[in-house]
Amino acid sequence: MIQLNYDPIDSSAVIESVQSPEAGAVVLFLGTTREFTAGRQTESLDYESYGEMAFRKLEELEQEARQRWSLTELTIVHRLGHLGIGEASVAIAVSAPHRKDAFTAGQWLIDTLKEIVPIWKKENWADGTSQWVHPGMPS
C-alpha cells in the first residue's frame, strides 16, 4: 500500500496493514522530524511533493523490493504539509516470512526513497528563517 497524505501517520495502522499469517517478521521504520540539525534548532518542517511522480516512484520501489526479496506485505506512507517536531514524516512497514528479508528490504526502501522520490522538506528554523533542503546544492 502506498499513501501520500496530509494526515498524521497512524503507525499502528501501518503495522496492521502488513500483518499476515504468512509473515514471520514485521519491520517498521519511522522517519521522525528532528529538532536539532548540526546544532541548529528547527521549529517545524513543511513537506511538498510532485504528487503524481512521487506516487509512481513509490510504486516502482514496491515492485522492485518485491522482486529482490521474498516479502509478504509492504506499506509506504509519506506525510506532506506542515509538521511539528517529533512527528512521523514517513513510515515504511515490511512483512516477510523471514526477518532478514524484512530488515534488508526496509533499509533499501528508505535509502532509495530519500534518493529518488520527488518529495522535499523545508526547515523552518527557530530563528524565524526557513530553507528548502536540497542535498549537495548550495543554498
Partner: protein
C-alpha cells in the same frame, strides 16, 4: 515551441510561482532547456548543475528531446523521508 515547467521547493521559491513557460526551438533537449532556463531566469544559475528534469513524471536524460504537450518538471535534489 512553448513548454510549461512545473516547479518545486527552492526552484519554485526562486521565481515565487509554481510553474513558468519557456520558449524553446523545436528539437530542444533537456540540456537546451536548462541553458534557456538559466538565460531567461538567472536566479537558477547556482542550482543549474543540481537540477534534474522529469518528463511525464519520469526522470529524463540530458539528450532527451522535448515535444509540445509533454508535462515537464524541474526537480531539485530531493529531501523526503
Amino acid at each position: 515551441m512553448r513548454i510549461k515547467l512545473k516547479l518545486f521547493a527552492a526552484a519554485r521559491q526562486a521565481v515565487n510561482q509554481d510553474s513558468l513557460e519557456i520558449e524553446l526551438t523545436d528539437g530542444a533537449t533537456i540540456t537546451d532547456l536548462k541553458n534557456e532556463l538559466v538565460k531567461q531566469f538567472p536566479q537558477f544559475e547556482s542550482m543549474r548543475e543540481h537540477l534534474l528534469v522529469a518528463i511525464d513524471a519520469e526522470y529524463a536524460k540530458e539528450d532527451q528531446v522535448l515535444m509540445p504537450g509533454f508535462e515537464v518538471a524541474i526537480i531539485p535534489p530531493v529531501s523526503g523521508g
